[in-house]
Amino acid sequence: MTTLASRLLRVALVILLLGTVLAQVLVPVVASQEARIFPEVEYLAVPYSVALILVIACVQVALLVVWRLLSMVDGGVIFTRGALRWVDAIIACAVVATVLSIGVLIHLGFIVDAGGPLVALGLPATLAGGLAFVLLMIVMRGLLESAIADRTELDEVI
């Protein structure tokens, strides 16, 4: 079944995907501008750009996985074991993105000793936000797993 909500969600996913591609293109541009303004941290431009592009890539993979799961919902096969692998992929993306972000913030705040309020606020926010998202996904994965078990059992009823 294809509902209005799932169609609108697909439109939103396409917009978000285009937005993330644009962001990936802009990251090195902004980084080189910053490097010109603050030449003392110029050496950080390339590694931080790479890290941020990778974080955005994680978001892109997760968006594509949501698209795939949405197709499974539309096809009526969301309650099959195959769906769990895709949810695992979202969890993996969230873990990688969170670890990368925290790594950059820790490096910026405690090794480069810069960043100021960005690190002071960004680090706990990223830590709590990333952790909450990953844990929420794990809880929802558990719900999906029990729904699959129920559906599988019900399919055997004649």
Partner: protein
């Protein structure tokens, strides 16, 4: 579980083919086969109701319990 579905006997007694029976009960012939060869793990009361109506019998006429699982 040692519950045996004795559908063969009742179908033969009513001179009904599997296809006609499946049609009359409203289940697929594949599910009739599952019932007949003892691979069924659960049956809806509504299905049992239809089967009894179609075969004009009681549940006990098609379900039999034995202490030992059939070999």
């Amino acid at each position: 579980m040692a519950l045996i579905v004795e559908l063969d006997v009742m179908l033969a007694r009513r001179k009904m083919s599997v296809g006609d029976f499946a049609n009359a009960v409203g289940i697929t012939p594949a599910n009739v086969a599952v019932l007949k060869n003892g691979r069924a793990r659960a049956i809806r009361f509504s299905t049992l109701d239809s089967i009894c109506r179609v075969l004009d019998c009681q549940p006990g006429d098609i379900l039999r319990w034995t202490a030992d699982p059939p070999a």
